[in-house]
């Protein structure tokens, strides 16, 4: 019977004929069928995945060189385009829409022999922190079905948590990979802005969005990142910096760690999370790390800055969903062009998406632009300068990933502000563009997992992953 214990081990099974790609796909298809109640997948590509698995098996057995992700079974968040397949951003407005091209990340997965098993549920247009904003229903946390899996990449996180695929691709605009990884007790990696091409990722906020990886080990996340990262002619914001073999060198991580005093003394932080994080920092000191508290006087500004800038970009990015070229078109009579747009968009978008479009439209409006958008851009610049200064002295910053553990479904859905504020630790990395990872190090007294977040400087995924590997070792040795 097939079991999955990491990509490298899977490759060994394949190489020694103890498993086939087809068996792996069969295994995951069964698991998916057994867990449909989690609502993690919106669509399964069962036949197609099996067919591809068989082809890969034949190829491998014939001695054809295999790709770097040979037979790796991947789920993709429903905001990533896969040619010839539906993509809906978990929204009614894209009902019936089929992508006519591959996202660059998908193209690269396929080129290295990965198998895409299906598309995963998420918050509509990646807007949300609980996966309660999907037009296709909530996703349940596999560990406690009464709790949310986090969001917006809830389906992608739960898929890895419940073992429905080997790894998932999600997207992270303000924590949408790290926060659900934290809630689900898995690894969630958000690379540096510009590290992975955004081409084919349905935009929420262009200058924040980054495709991220869910995995059950740091090694698997690194393996996938090496494949999907790198410059892309179709994304002008993608970086030309070379992609490193992230974990192949057995180098010790650079060990100067900073943490924000204000982050740990924040009133919204769950006492248990605070205590565990502090004791972990303590432990790092005994493990030979140099851990220093630093002042971060901007903490209270970052959530507002984040929501002003992301909603501004979103209000524009989502304008293309107008019912003219594709997607939902209202059956209602539309006497004027404005009515036509109103009908299509009112029916097509969900509540949270509308809230953010309205907010973003407001902050870009004549008369408010300077007070909100310009100001927020200034804060963003300030944060970037501060970050650059921090990384002159430190190799990494550690914080909790989320101030609370996974909450109950419905618990926060009537309080958008509280929901927004819970992004306090994750949005920083997107505001300044640095890489960040959530590592599942702890268990709460309520039984749920939670983690810590590690951030390094721009394009220093190498040290981020080396640190992560070491921190995970500390957990195991606990």
């Amino acid at each position: 019977m097939f079991t999955f214990r990491g990509i490298q081990q899977y490759f060994q099974l394949l190489a020694s004929n103890q498993a086939t790609c087809e068996e792996a796909v069969q295994y995951f298809l069964h698991k998916i069928t057994d867990n449909t109640h989690l609502n993690a997948f919106l669509e399964i590509y069962a036949e197609e995945a099996l067919e591809r698995a068989r082809q890969l098996d034949t190829k491998r057995k014939a001695g054809v060189p295999v790709g770097k992700l040979h037979g790796v079974v991947v789920g993709i968040k429903d905001v990533i385009c896969y040619k010839g397949h539906k993509v809906s951003a978990a929204s009614k407005i894209l009902e019936g829409f089929t992508s006519i091209y591959n996202a660059t990340a998908v193209e690269r997965l396929l080129a290295e022999d990965a198998i895409i098993i299906g598309r995963q549920n998420c918050d509509e247009f990646a807007m949300g922190s609980s996966n309660e904003n999907s037009a296709f229903g909530n996703v349940l946390n596999a560990k406690d079905n009464s709790r949310v899996p986090g969001g917006s990449s809830g389906g992608s996180a739960v898929s890895v948590q419940a073992g429905l695929c080997m790894v998932s691709l999600g997207s992270d605009t303000g924590g949408s990979v790290r926060q659900p990884a934290d809630f689900c007790g898995i690894i969630g990696l958000k690379p540096t802005y510009g590290r992975v091409s955004r081409y084919g990722l349905i935009a929420y906020a262009s200058s924040f969005d980054q495709i991220g990886i869910f995995a059950s080990s740091v090694e698997d996340a690194a393996t996938v990142l090496e494949v999907i990262a790198g410059q892309d002619d179709y994304d002008s914001t993608s970086s030309h910096k070379p992609v490193m073999p992230y974990l192949q060198q057995n180098t010790a991580p650079a060990k100067k760690i900073a943490y924000f005093k204000e982050a740990l003394s924040h009133p919204g932080l769950d006492p248990e999370i605070k205590a565990q994080t502090e004791s972990f920092l303590q432990k790092l000191t005994t493990e030979g790390y140099d851990v220093q508290p630093i002042d971060f006087e901007y903490l209270d500004y970052i959530v507002s800055t984040y929501y002003i800038l992301t909603t501004a970009e979103a209000s524009s990015n989502l304008s293309r969903f107008d019912g003219v070229k594709y997607g939902h078109r209202s059956a209602k009579n539309a006497p004027t062009l404005a009515d036509f747009y109103k009908n299509n968009r009112s029916e097509g978008f969900g509540k949270e998406v509308k809230r953010r479009i309205l907010l973003g439209t407001f902050v870009l409006s004549a008369g408010y632009f300077d007070a909100y958008f310009t100001k927020a851009q200034q804060v963003r610049k300030l944060l970037l300068d501060k970050t650059t200064a921090i990384f002159k002295d430190f190799d990494a910053i550690i914080s909790p990933t989320v101030p609370t553990p996974a909450f109950k479904i419905g618990e926060k859905s009537n309080d958008p502000i509280e929901m927004f504020l819970a992004d306090i630790y994750t949005v920083f990395a997107n505001l300044v563009g640095i890489p960040a990872i959530s590592l599942p190090l702890f268990t709460h007294s309520n039984g749920m997992n939670f983690g810590i977040q590690v951030m390094t400087s721009h394009f220093d995924e190498e040290n981020l992953l080396h640190l992560s590997k070491d921190f995970m070792r500390l957990r195991i040795s606990e």
Binding site: F97, S99, D322
Partner: protein
């Protein structure tokens, strides 16, 4: 004095020029005009989810090229912004534009008016992408949209409110169109929409320094329409004010069928475009080196070239005629590499060649006579081997027909060469003198004007081959 003389008009023009690039401003789709509807459209042009723009470097080069040709200051730090509005022909719901930070600032275009030459001041030139085209008249129940044009690169060339009449606007568009064609950044075809013009018109009492309320007139798809619309608009505004009314700030459209304008929206309905920097495109810096490279490749501009020709000894009119179109000047430049008789070359260009092209409805670009052949004809005429009229009426058509044969060879074959050998000419001269004793007598009595008659007679019997200079010399000798 008419009440019209109390007022003066203040006009500013916004011209959209399509840049002559192979592909669109932000993707590889063809930027060619026409094509079956929705054939130059990829996922990017159609604004499919997840698509991103990538700037076409060639378009940036062309925008700088026109900026340099208009003496603009070129901005080194550039970025695009999004102009947000909803319309079916706008696939993304926003237009990517440099509206907030133009690549070219200031500058001017020279025009020639009745009062002489003057510079029309420009405010800016910026890049932006074109929208698609809504078609309302092919389906009774639906508007159809063709996205072929969506994303085609444009520059918007904006003047200061620096034009004073419809005539000046006419001159400005004429010069601008000539210029963009000359430097090959835009084909200038107004009918196909590669050059489009909006006019901002206001009036004020003469002597007033404050600008009056302006009206924007759109849909001006020919130079004539620009002129007609402005003429109408000035007249309309004066009438409004004279009858005690107030001019309302509005956008109007021109109706070419009636040469009138009509309101399409008032200022109150104006959109809030919510401009903000395009996050999908990082800002780009232009180096001095890059700009210099473009400047080096810029051809001599008509104004400079005309002066140069005048320095070579041509009259102002002739020089300007040669600079109306780049291809004409290019041809002339090629010819004057091969002959130093610039005046003759200009005469050929502005005379027989222009007539030939006109008669055959050809463009100079399609003129098949090699500059080398024209230079040879000029030389043959200068050497007295053929006269100008035979060269232009007989030799040139023959050369055009034969293609590559040298002029001398063709002239010989056609027996067009003049005879300068005096023995043969003496025979013809004697024959004429013998034939016209009465006239000879009159000439000898002092009616010297008759020499022309004798020369003409010799020309006739020699079938044009006798060199008139030699004939005249011989006649004068013999009739002394």
């Amino acid at each position: 004095m008419s009440y019209h003389d109390k007022y003066e008009a203040v006009i500013g023009l916004e011209v959209h020029a399509q840049l002559q690039t192979e592909s669109k401003l932000f993707c590889g789709d063809s930027a060619a005009f026409g094509g079956s509807p929705n054939t130059h459209v990829s996922a990017i042009t159609l604004g499919h989810p997840g698509t991103l723009p990538k700037t076409n470097k060639k378009a940036v080069e062309l925008a700088i090229r026109i900026g340099l040709a208009c003496n603009c200051e070129i901005e080194r730090y550039n970025y695009f912004a999004r102009k947000n509005y909803f319309y079916p022909d706008l696939p993304k719901g926003y237009q990517v534009s440099q509206h907030t930070a133009p690549i070219c600032k200031g500058g001017h275009v020279a025009i020639h008016t009745a009062e002489g030459k003057r510079n029309v001041q420009l405010n800016r030139i910026h890049m932006e992408e074109d929208a698609g085209k809504s078609i309302h008249d092919i389906d009774d129940n639906n508007t159809c949209v063709d996205y072929n044009r969506a994303g085609v690169p444009l520059v918007e060339i904006v003047t200061e409110p620096d034009l004073k009449s419809a005539d000046e606007a006419y001159q400005y568009i004429t010069e601008l169109r000539k210029l963009v064609r000359w430097i090959e950044v835009c084909d200038g075809n107004m009918e196909e929409g590669s050059l489009r013009c909006d006019a901002n018109v206001s009036i004020r009492l003469k002597g007033e320094t404050k600008l009056g309320t302006k009206v924007e007139v759109k849909n001006l798809n020919s130079i004539r329409n620009v002129k007609k619309a402005i003429e109408y608009e000035i007249e309309r505004m004066i009438n409004v004010v004279e009858s005690g009314g107030v001019i309302v700030q509005q956008t109007r459209s021109f109706d070419a069928a009636t040469d009138t304008t009509f309101a399409i929206r008032d200022k109150e309905e104006a959109n809030d475009y919510r401009y903000f920097p395009e996050p999908d495109l990082p800002p780009f810096y232009l180096t001095d080196e890059f700009i210099e490279g473009i400047r080096q490749k810029l051809p001599a501009l008509p104004e400079q070239l005309s002066l140069h020709y005048q320095q070579l000894g041509l009259g102002e009119y002739d020089a300007q005629q040669l600079c109306l179109e780049k291809e004409t000047a290019d041809y002339f430049n090629a010819v004057i590499q091969l002959t130093t008789n610039y005046k003759a070359a200009a005469n050929w260009m502005n005379g027989p060649i222009r007539h030939y092209l006109h008669e055959h409805k050809l463009h100079i670009a399609d003129f098949s006579l090699a500059p080398q052949r024209l230079a040879e004809m000029i030389q043959l005429v200068d050497e007295g081997k053929i006269n100008f009229s035979a060269a232009s009426s007989k030799l040139m058509p023959a050369l055009l027909a034969t293609g590559s044969a040298p002029a001398l060879e063709t002239a010989t074959a056609l027996n067009l060469l003049q005879v300068s050998d005096s023995s043969e000419i003496t025979g013809w001269v004697d024959a004429v003198i013998n034939k016209m004793p009465d006239k000879v007598a009159e000439y000898k009595k002092g009616k010297k004007g008759l020499i022309g008659l004798f020369v003409g007679e010799v020309k006739k019997i020699s079938k044009g081959k006798a060199d008139p200079k030699v004939v005249t010399g011989l006649l004068e000798e013999k009739l002394k």
